[in-house]
């Protein structure tokens, strides 16, 4: 335990200095780079609002979707964003239950990442409905149509999976925030900040009784969130595997999607953690050991994903089914073959670089790798969703897909939504859990005695 405490928190920090350092991000002056970053993110958010409004007003005829490719960027983006969310839940719930101390300094912003990614993800299927203003038809309520949603449809399971996921993630994140909000209430100088953080802290006083209840609630929520790590992306994969289309109809999808989700989630953790710690000088809290462990998890889950790719090709051969065989051929050699080879180069070849300790310890390399592999995961969903649809059973119904500028605007704009939320989060809420960092110091002192 003391060994862990040493690796995941640089020496020389005590209760007071840790609290001061983390709360100074919020209460101290805001660096210029924050404004630059926020401005860029906000500009992208405006693009998103524009594209969403256009979709509302004119309909999804603005997108590149049609027949045979009825699922385009919107579904690719949905699966990609929701996958990113998975690392947050894994870090917060499973690593908590497994007593992995290294989750301490990265769990807070990973959970925030989860929430914002799920929010981004949620917008896409709603827009994809075509008449997004009627999204509430997806919920079972006593409507004037005398109908319930089609409970046998994976698309309805999606609604429940994603909304449950968002709710539990939000509760988990907020519960963890409460002691830190109380710290901010007590350290803030301005009256307004004290009142706002005070209301949000729900009257937390840090008494023994509060802590006991807090720990119980936190553990219970972790228990609730754990099955969600596996269930949500399994349900998302059912959208595909329940259909009969070659390239979708495959029993390997649930585990393969879950592994891909955790993989892309850890890519995104690295993409966010590396700039965050250098922007605010948090190298002592988010150490190179943290980054290395994230990279190891990426390697492990990435290899499972690679196994999935290999299995898809093996099954095409082993099944003897002409449609499956053609799908495998079309993926690699068809008109969209470039997307498969790009995926292959990144997710199967480049990923192996993480076997090397030198790569895992080199921060700039990790950052570039995380960006490339995030991109690869997006391409993976493109290969699954779009390329499978372009050529199905009947050659007469084959087609091609071209994204329009509205598709691109929505994709780029969703980064705006995500990053705007993230910049605001870093500015107004503690990006690293102060209370848990103090717990780490406490453990170290206990061990030192």
């Amino acid at each position: 335990m003391s060994e862990d405490a040493k690796r995941f928190l640089a020496p020389g920090w005590d209760f007071g200095t840790v609290t001061d350092k983390i709360s100074s991000i919020i209460l101290g002056p805001t660096p210029l780079s924050w404004f630059v970053g926020f401005g860029a993110a906000f500009a992208a958010l405006l693009l998103f609002i524009f594209a969403v409004s256009a979709t509302f007003l004119r309909g999804i005829g603005l997108w590149g979707v049609g027949i045979p490719v009825a699922w385009g960027f919107a579904i690719v983006n949905f699966v990609w964003w929701i996958g990113i969310g998975h690392a947050g839940t894994l870090i917060s719930a499973i690593l908590l239950l497994l007593h992995q101390k290294w989750r301490t300094s990265i769990n807070r912003f990973a959970e925030a990442m989860t929430l914002f990614a799920v929010a981004c993800a949620g917008t896409f299927p709603l827009l994809h409905l075509g008449r997004p203003q009627f999204f509430y038809w997806l919920f079972p309520y006593p409507d004037t149509m005398g109908l319930w949603p089609q409970f046998r449809s994976p698309l309805v399971w999606d609604v429940f999976a994603v909304s449950t996921y968002f709710t539990v993630s939000l509760l988990f994140w907020y519960t963890g925030l409460i002691p830190d909000l109380a710290t901010l209430r007590d350290t803030a100088k301005s009256k307004l900040a004290r009142v706002v953080y005070g209301v949000m802290a729900f009257g937390w006083r840090g008494s023994a009784r509060h802590w006991r209840r807090f720990e119980t609630a936190y553990l219970l929520l972790a228990g609730l969130a754990t099955p969600l790590v596996v269930s949500v992306h399994s349900v998302v994969s059912f959208d595909f595997s329940v259909a009969i289309l070659p390239g979708w109809h495959s029993p390997i999808f649930p585990p393969y999607f879950v592994a891909g989700a955790i993989y892309s989630g850890f890519c995104m953790v690295l993409t966010l953690a590396i700039p965050l710690r250098s922007l605010y000088g948090l190298h002592d809290f988010i150490t190179d050991d943290h980054l290395e462990l994230c990279a190891k998890l990426m390697l492990a889950t990435g290899l499972i994903v690679d196994y999935g790719y290999v299995m898809e090709f093996f099954m095409a051969y082993y099944s003897g089914d002409i449609y499956e065989k053609f799908l495998a051929y079309n993926r690699a050699m068809g008109p969209c073959g470039w997307s498969f080879w790009l995926l292959f180069a990144l997710n199967m070849v480049l990923l192996q670089a993480l076997w090397s300790r030198r790569v895992r310890r080199s921060v700039p390399t990790l950052f570039v790798l995380s960006l490339l592999l995030n991109f690869a995961m997006w391409i993976e969903r493109y290969v699954i969703v779009v390329v499978s649809l372009t050529r199905d059973f009947l050659p007469s119904s084959w087609g091609y897909y071209g994204a329009t500028r509205f598709d691109w605007s929505l994709l780029l704009g969703s980064f705006g939504l995500f990053l705007t939320c993230f910049f605001l989060f870093v500015r107004f809420l503690p990006a690293i859990s102060m209370s848990e960092m103090r717990g780490l110091i406490d453990e170290r002192q206990e061990a030192g005695k």
Binding site: Y141, P142, D143, T144, M145, G146, L147, R185, R194, V195, G198, V199, F202, G203
Partner: protein, 216 residues
């Protein structure tokens, strides 16, 4: 340092949470009710017509059959609105000078059809055929309300053409027999719609409730 919040804060926060939950429930309830009010369904609300035609007078008073004017109800998807010359079969002889019928006479002279305002309207994504309903023994009044009692025409109450109203009968046709004496008198000559016939339909509920039965 002075306390940030007075002791009453706890109660205020608790009350706010309770109020939030209450408002949410109330909002759902209000939305549920409002959607079913006559303001939205237009059931029971007479609309403006070029001529104040009274079904009550013509049907209950004079005993004219529905099909005298709505000729294609039994044979076509559309029940049909009468041409002006149908009105003129009587009104060329009776009430020839009535101010109320000026628009009818003008229409007869010019050949320009009377622009009736449609009362019962289904969305265009619903495939609806009058003839099959009439032939399977559904009374006009089952969907249109007691038109024979309407001095001005309104959408039948309590059947405001919500999908659930269609499904009520498509799911349980046996519950909509043509039984009451007034209906029986008005439906003389219509295909039979007694309980036995409707019960026979009930065997085909699966077919009646397929999506593509109405949404083709």
């Amino acid at each position: 340092m002075a306390q940030l919040f007075p002791p009453s804060s706890n109660s205020i926060v608790k009350a706010a949470f309770a109020a939030g939950a209450l408002v949410l429930c109330l909002a759902v309830w209000v939305a549920y009710r409002v959607e079913r009010t006559t303001y939205f369904t237009k059931a029971g609300v007479a609309c403006e017509q070029p001529v104040p035609f009274s079904h009550k007078h013509h049907v209950s008073g004079l005993g004219i059959d529905c099909r005298y004017c709505h000729v294609s109800a039994e044979d076509s998807s559309f029940a049909g609105l009468p041409p002006t010359r149908t009105c003129m079969t009587c009104h060329s002889q009776v009430w020839t000078q009535a101010q109320m019928l000026a628009a009818v006479r003008r229409s007869a002279e010019t050949g320009q059809a009377i622009a009736w305002t449609r009362v019962d309207r289904l969305p265009d994504y619903v495939y609806f055929d009058h003839s099959i309903h009439v032939r399977k023994g559904v009374a006009c009044q089952t969907c249109h309300g007691r038109v024979q009692r309407m001095p001005l025409t309104w959408r039948g109450y309590p059947f405001p053409f919500h999908m659930k109203d269609c499904l009520a009968c498509h799911r349980h046709p046996e519950r909509f027999p043509r039984e009451d004496a007034e209906l029986a008198r008005l439906s003389r000559g219509f295909p039979p719609g007694e309980r036995g016939h409707a019960a026979a339909l009930a065997e085909h509920v699966r077919l009646l409730t397929d999506c593509y039965t109405c949404h083709r």
